[in-house]
Point group: C2
Chain length 106, copies 2
DNA sequence: CGCACCAAGTTTGTACCGCAAACCTGTTTG
DNA sequence: CAAACAGGTTTGCGGTACAAACTTGGTGCG
């Protein structure tokens, strides 16, 4: 048996709270560094790091590692795809919320 | 500065796509039966069943099992708590989305 | 009757994954 | 030199969402 019609599929990759926060924050800026993202999202270093890795693997963000003042500095930005996908995701959440979908019976 | 995620908590119990759909649909009606929920959310029987069980264990919904026309009929409704929690969840999503921009450190 | 099939759910097996904690690597400080 | 620190990364494990198998009762039908 299969899903009849996977209606408003919410992509778990983006929907995940930590990544939803990351993506949403990134959507408001051109780029942000690791420490800024950590503060903005409240994630721990470890979790931020692994979420960023996943997002980069999915090509939703790009990661650039530099040294600034002899310290490592990781700069993150949404890709064009990423920008699209986070916008779409919020759209889907909107339509789920408004749930104006077809009502079969009763 | 307060992290925008001062209450960083998006409750995963509710945030989970399947359950978010269930709760949201339920918030628009007084009650709904299993089959209606299945159609409305696009979930399979199995997943709908287990999500409902979890929600009931958390006392976010009540489940009543009856027989209608000699067929089992499972009726589901939000508890008062459930109604509150789903509303709160959407509020949190809103504030995440509106993420009052702070000056990027860079 | 006996048997097949359906509808409405429930249970189960497992593969995935988020989280915290341990670890790494280079820099400044005493 | 050692020790503390900043900025990340890797690892171990506990929880869980999903699909598939199973259950339970009803209904045709020959």
């Amino acid at each position: 048996m299969s899903a009849p019609s996977d209606g408003p599929i919410l992509d778990r990759l983006i929907h995940e709270p930590g990544r939803l926060a990351i993506m949403t924050v990134l959507s408001t800026v051109e780029s942000a560094d690791f420490v800024f993202l950590q503060r903005a999202t409240g994630l721990t270093k470890g979790n931020l790091s692994s979420h960023l890795t996943r997002l980069a693997e999915a090509e939703l963000v790009t990661i650039e590692k530099r040294f600034v003042h002899r310290k490592p500095n990781t700069n993150v930005a949404l890709t064009a795809t990423g920008r699209l996908r986070i916008a779409q995701h919020w759209d889907r959440l909107d339509s789920l919320r408004n749930f104006s979908t077809q009502s079969p019976s009763e």
